[in-house]
Structures are given as C-alpha cells and as structure tokens.
C-alpha cells in the first residue's frame, strides 16, 4: 500500500496507516509536516532552543515506537503534541529536582506580588499588528516561572481541563487553579505594561 501512496498529497490518516505497517517514508512525511508544531510546543515549555530540538526529536522516536498504539481517537498531531508535552514535563521535573528551591520561587508558587496587584485591563490589540502582538505575548510568557507558563500552555493552547492538567503536572486541581490564576494576573500586568510602552 505504502509503495503506491503519494506521500505529499496523502492525508495524515493514510500516512499513519502506512507508517503503522512499517513505512518509514510515510513517517518521514508526517515528521516533515508537523515538525514545526512539535518543536514549537517543546520550545514554548522549555524556552531553550537546544532542549526543544532534542525533546521534539525524542518525541518523534517515541511516536514511531508506539505508533501501533495510536488508534486515531484524536488527530495524529494532537497525539504527537501530548507525547512532546509529557517529555517536556518529565524534563522540567528533573530540572526542578536539581534546582534549589529558592524563596523567590516558593513565593511565586503562592502568588507572590501578583496577590497584591491592582486589577488591570490589558488591551494591546488596538495598537499592535497581530504578528507583533504574538511576539509580545511570547516575551511575556518567557517571564513566567515554568509552573505558571506550563499551566497556561496546557489550558489556553492545548485546551485541557483542570483535572487533566492536574494529572499531567502531578499536582492537585487546587494547585492548578491557583497557578492559572496568578499566571493570568501576571500576564495581564505584563501586557498592560506593553500597552503603556506603546503609548509613549
């Protein structure tokens, strides 16, 4: 089957079926199609280019090894994204074990300065082009702790529910809610600051 398949025009489902039968070329096409997305998710979580390349590559190797387990309940790219997210979470857990828990970090877990922040209304969309706005939002995300950024990514970009985020991050739903709350508040402040800069 894979010998007759036109890889460039075949849809993901057909490529997955061919790859499940051992078709390396079909798998290569899947990698080519989705490599930016998978790398992008790894980068958004790790904020490090080299780590993101390595982890995305590892995700593809794992995907090949587990391809027979993929039943097609979700799309292939969603399945792949879940694999890379799990690898990133494992890596972040390892790094956290190596890092000394600083007072600043503990403070951030509990909300830190965001707890006392006045409510702001960020609305930078009026003055920024979409591409520039995305860039600014990405820069704001980079200023968050790993815990706050991860919970935002899983909730806003991956659209996971609190319960699923708690399971993946191995923490309670209460912790997820609290992290999400302070992460959003910090983002609001950072984006409101961008607006003030724009107005100068």
């Amino acid at each position: 089957m894979s010998q007759n398949l036109d890889f460039a025009s075949a849809d993901d489902k057909a490529l997955v079926r061919a790859a499940q039968k051992g078709g390396m070329q079909a798998f290569e096409e899947l990698v080519a199609r989705h490599r930016d997305k998978i790398y992008g998710r790894a980068f958004s979580m790790m904020r490090n280019e080299e780590e993101a390349v390595d982890l995305s590559q590892e995700a593809w190797v794992k995907a090949w090894q587990r391809l027979k387990q993929f039943q097609g309940e979700a799309s292939f790219v969603t399945w792949m994204t879940r694999i890379v997210i799990n690898l990133c979470l494992d890596q972040l857990r390892k790094q956290k074990r190596l890092r000394a828990e600083s007072i600043e970090q503990m403070d951030e877990e509990l909300g830190g300065v965001e707890r006392q922040m006045p409510v702001v209304t960020p609305n930078p969309t009026e003055r920024l082009e979409r591409g520039e706005l995305r860039q600014r939002i990405d820069e704001a995300l980079a200023k968050l702790s790993h815990e706050h950024r991860t919970v935002l990514i899983l909730h806003e970009f991956e659209e996971l529910e609190y319960k699923e985020i708690a399971r993946r991050m191995r923490c309670s739903i209460g912790t997820v809610m609290s992290r999400l709350f302070y992460a959003r508040r910090k983002m609001a402040v950072l984006l409101a600051g961008l607006k003030r800069e724009e107005l100068r």
């Binding site: 958004s44 995305r134 806003e156 809610m177």
Partner: protein
C-alpha cells in the same frame, strides 16, 4: 474585597468548570459586585489574548538533517532492542536443551546408585553389553546400557502397562 476562594471561583466560571448551581451563584456576584466584575474582565482578556495569539515557530534545522537524526536514533534503538532479544532467546534454547538432559542425568545417577552390587564393589552393572536387571517391583523392570566409547549411559524403565 473578594477572598481568594471567590477569585478562583470567578476563574472557574470563566473556564466553564463550575456546576450549574455554582455558576449561578457566581453570575449573581458578577451582577452586583464591581470588584468581581473588574477581576473577571482582566482574567477574560488575558485568556482570550493567549488563546488567539500563540507564536508560530520554525524548527531551526533543515528537514533532511532533522529527519536523519530521528532515523538514526530509531535504527539505533531498534538494533539495541534486537540485541537484547537475541540473548534471552539463546538462553531459552539452552534451557530447553539442558533441562531434559539434567533430568536424564539425575535419573541415571539415581539408578546407578540403586544398582550398586550388594558387596559394596561400587561397580555399575551395565558395562559392555546391555543387561536386564530384576527389580523388587513385579510390575516394573528397567534396563541400562553403557557405552564407554560414547561415554553414555541409557536407562530404560518399563512399567509393563499397556
């Protein structure tokens, strides 16, 4: 001023994570509390800005180079896995061969000890030719054969059952 628990409920309301009863309570609060409304707006805007504006990223490596690394890693891991499977397979083959051989050897030793001559000479009765040995049990007989050339002893036990 609303407490932290209420703040989290406002957020859960925004995310659609409340039961219908709790959602109604929060909706009532939003209608009458300006502070809750302001916080809700802040959270809502932060959520919508993020949801619609994730930055697209490009992998900083060429397709060919990236794929070649993945393919090599797949091949390396498959090769390691194959090596890991080969050793136990060989071990299993030896186990299959050695287990019956061990049983046979044990049986041979047992019979040899049993069939030592009563005067304590310690000689195994089967030497160059096969010998029929009478056993104390009427319904059972055994034969043993030893070949010095082949360094082998064969014991055959017959229960005379049809």
């Amino acid at each position: 001023m609303i407490n932290h628990e209420t703040e989290l409920k406002l957020q859960a309301y925004l995310d659609g994570e409340l039961s219908p009863g709790e959602a109604k309570t929060v909706a009532d609060l939003l209608r009458r509390d300006a502070g809750a409304q302001a916080l809700y707006q802040e959270l809502r805007i932060a959520k919508s800005l993020l949801a619609e504006n994730e930055l697209d990223r490009k992998l900083p490596e060429s397709r060919e180079f990236y794929w070649s690394k993945i393919r090599r890693q797949i091949e390396r891991e498959e090769s390691t896995l194959a090596d890991g499977l080969t050793e136990p397979a060989a071990f299993r083959w030896w186990t299959r061969f050695l287990a019956p051989a061990g049983v046979l050897a044990g049986l041979a030793i047992l019979v040899a000890v049993t069939l030592r001559s009563p005067n304590g000479g310690g000689t195994i009765l089967a030497l160059d030719d096969s010998h029929e040995i009478e056993t104390p049990l009427e319904e059972t007989s055994s034969f043993s054969f030893r070949s010095e050339a082949a360094a082998m002893t064969v014991v055959w036990v017959d229960s005379h059952r049809e």
